[in-house]
Symmetry: C2
Subunit: 203 residues, 2 copies
Amino acid sequence: MTEQAELTTNPHARQRLLEAALLLFSSKGYAGTSVRELAETAGVTKPVLYYYFKSKEGIYLALMEGALGEFYKTAEQALAAPGSVTERICGYCAALLDIFIERLPVARLVYAIFYGPHQGAPHIDFEASFSTMLEDMEKLVNEGIASGEFRQISPKDAAWVIVSQLNTAMEEQLCHTEKPRLDRNGLQRLLALLFEGMKKCDD
Amino acid sequence: MTEQAELTTNPHARQRLLEAALLLFSSKGYAGTSVRELAETAGVTKPVLYYYFKSKEGIYLALMEGALGEFYKTAEQALAAPGSVTERICGYCAALLDIFIERLPVARLVYAIFYGPHQGAPHIDFEASFSTMLEDMEKLVNEGIASGEFRQISPKDAAWVIVSQLNTAMEEQLCHTEKPRLDRNGLQRLLALLFEGMKKCDD
């Protein structure tokens, strides 16, 4: 079968390659996965992999950039949502925790790459997503102070306490042994407790 | 040289083996490290490694249990410290962040093992250390409610918001690209902001 014929008969090849990459990079590590295995697991030939992604690096970058792209899009939409500042902070955190849970296998891979031993994968600036959350929250807290919803707190510190809750709630979803002890509703309760320290006492 | 002679001439062999294990497991992964490399890096023979640790699994367990043991000891001492509840919470978090920073290479390895791809290392219950922090904080918050230092908040939720700060401050020390944005003093500022939501408004 020619490459063109295979592309014609296998329109989902690109998606299946991404799924194979997620599966193999997660179970065997990036370094331990070969182009041959990626193609075999996806049920395509190596030329099809090369056609879509050029290389193992290419398929890795497409997988990671796809996931980060969704994350940033969700954050951007949540930041632009209407409502009071506390409502928007709650909505933002809920939306990002939701997408984290929805894409748990890729989130798990991101953590494995970020914290795991260096495996020669191309550099991805995962920390930028954390910085984005901090910046977004700082922006919302500043709005809350300007509107009088919050008292005169440090917007940077307030951003850290909010993002710390979201960060820990996300990581709790990756726990190995049992059901996560913190879910969407739990996160909202923690945020409500934070807001008590940020609002004006006479509210 | 006989094994006994080498043990006599190399009293620091055990410690050097643990340091070699930390170095190699961190850089090459647990699965990628051999007994031969461990012995060579430590500058000892394989029988010396077997004498002290029996196996690669044994040296790994000694390294991890040593680190976790220090962590638990620090937590226990901090929990028993005198002072108001907020002082004790601050002291507890400072002590655990300090030991995390002091033992950063081993902390980094713990994260790599916990989040990284499975490498066949013996199971260690790292999550138990997180549960211990939650339980300790819940205990302190309960004391704070009983003494009137805190209002009637949920001790479990309050424990989560505190531990989330500590957790995020610890992880910030592992960041790859720049100086951590959150240090010991920063963590104390965040805790002070949390306490504002936990204290009685008329305080």
